[in-house]
Symmetry: C2
């Protein structure tokens, strides 16, 4: 997390104005947020109505990708369209001495741009392999192979990471200097995502070896 | 979770079409999702561009509320405007026998409507008290009292819960019947939000009593 404050906003609309001391525009900070949290919320227009759909995203280099039904509303409405993709992580509740200074610790990234379709079937398979293996290393090759019609039914869209900003807050509350003497407890209630033990499908064939998911973390 | 499938969609645009067997339109299911997860993602238009902003929401009866800077872009762009408010909870990663049937366990709610401003200062204070006490019971009265200018600087918007849908997935993968014999481990990697021990602000006055936050859960 190198840059902070106003320097480096890639465009007027990505310049953080509220709580601007939390702003970051460097790729290191943005990529770390994208890589920590696979759930994105994507905003787009559909028949004049703004819609936000929760969707998995994954990053490779300068792009984030998402997938869904080639015939679905979300994928059709976002293809070639201006979208806003936001990833947010809640890290805690910040209890201050005044209600006004309550806050949450968080990391969030907001990306703007035109969503582009990945059309080459080989490239689609490569990207879907990464999606699967990003959760469960080497799992793709153990699965019942994907069929051509499954790949055709699957659309993949991507967004270049170029018009993006991040906001990151951590640590104790920031109260007005005159409020520190007010005799009330202040501090942080930490919140985080945890991964539990894998739950085998009751219909698993006897003797199938469980994949090693111990390396997977989220948030 | 009573209703499922197509019955009960309050409008054409809230009719779930993809994975429609996961759809719910009853208030019990929708309210439970809103109450479990304070983080919402709100989509709105700003200068023709769809934007999605992560924001805290809280529910009272038939309405969800959110707050922010009266002068801020998000609050000004959403006031009186058509918005889409989505709350989503990731409950796990579902590993299937085919890549195509990988999924996530989740609960999500999507609300459409026009955002309305709460203008009466007394009502604003009442709602902000609920926001604060919803995280930390009885905390409001212990805080340095809110000032008139703080209340003026704070905008509160709300959305009536009337055009809404939910999707809920839980349990093991649903593979194609012919894939169950494929010899690969399938199951669920559970994911959940956990609350840690409160971290006191190093600048706390000596002897201030920690609030009882043990009742707080999220997700
Ligand atoms: C978990 C969570 C909960 C939040 N709860 C609240 C809340 O209850 N009330 C509230 O007012 N705000 C909340 N925020 C902050 C909120 O996301 C916005 O940053 C804030 O509301 C200001 O929005 P704006 O459009 O008015 O800001 P502006 O500063 O005018 O936005 C200008 C530009 O700054 C960048 N930007 C703005 N917000 C973010 C962001 N979150 N992440 C990355 N870039 C951003 C974007 O490029 C945007 O186009 C929360 C954020 C998180 C992550
Ligand atoms: C954590 C998480 C991760 C997800 N990951 C993916 C992914 O990687 N790829 C993917 O395609 N989908 C994903 N989904 C599902 C996604 O949110 C959409 O439901 C799906 O993409 C279909 O969108 P659509 O607009 O084409 O659906 P349609 O069924 O055409 O939408 C019509 C209406 O159904 C309702 N609806 C749609 N989605 C939801 C929802 N999530 N919650 C409540 N109501 C809804 C709304 O009222 C909407 O207006 C994910 C959902 C969650 C919660
Ligand atoms: C880690 C791997 C994957 C995960 C976690 C995942 C998750 C999801 C989720 C959550 C949905 C939305 C379901 C809903 O609407 O409720 C979805 C839809 C979809 N996925 Fe995946 N997916 C993965 C890999 C794949 C792969 C490899 C393919 C193709 C071979 C694929 C094809 C599709 C298609 C076509 C849809 C749309 C289904 C429809 O709306 O009818 N997915 N996926
Ligand atoms: C549980 C209680 C509360 C929490 C968790 C909370 C959280 C937040 C968060 C996360 C933001 C966004 C900060 C950012 O842009 O990065 C915010 C903004 C704001 N909050 Fe709260 N808040 C709470 C209560 C209140 C109360 C009671 C008031 C008024 C008395 C208030 C007034 C404001 C205002 C005015 C802003 C906009 C600040 C700005 O953009 O300049 N908040 N709040």
């Amino acid at each position: 997390m190198t840059s902070s404050n106003d320097a480096g906003a890639p465009s007027a609309r990505t310049l953080v104005k509220r709580y601007r001391h939390l702003a970051h525009y460097d790729r290191e900070t943005i990529d770390a947020i994208l890589d920590a949290m696979p759930v994105a919320h994507i905003a787009y227009l559909h028949e004049g109505q703004p819609i936000v759909t929760p969707t998995l995203q994954w990053r490779e280099g300068d792009r984030v990708y998402w997938h869904g039904a080639a015939k679905g509303r979300m994928m059709r409405a976002t293809e070639g369209a201006d979208v806003c993709l936001t990833v947010s992580i809640l890290d805690g509740l910040v209890l201050a001495r005044s209600a006004f200074n309550f806050n949450v610790n968080h990391r969030s990234a907001m990306l703007f741009g035109k969503a582009e379709a990945v059309t080459d079937p080989k490239e689609k398979i490569r990207l879907l392999t990464r999606l699967v293996n990003g959760f469960a290393p080497d799992q793709w090759d153990k699965l019942r192979p994907a069929t051509e019609s499954e790949i055709t039914a699957t659309a993949i869209l991507s967004l270049k990471i170029e018009e993006a900003s991040a906001k990151v807050r951590s640590g104790p509350p920031e109260d007005n200097e005159s409020d520190y003497a007010h005799p009330v407890w202040a501090g942080v209630l930490p919140i985080r995502l945890t991964v539990g033990a894998p739950e085998p499908d009751p219909r698993n064939s006897p003797g199938v070896a469980a994949p090693d998911l111990s390396g997977y973390s989220i948030g």
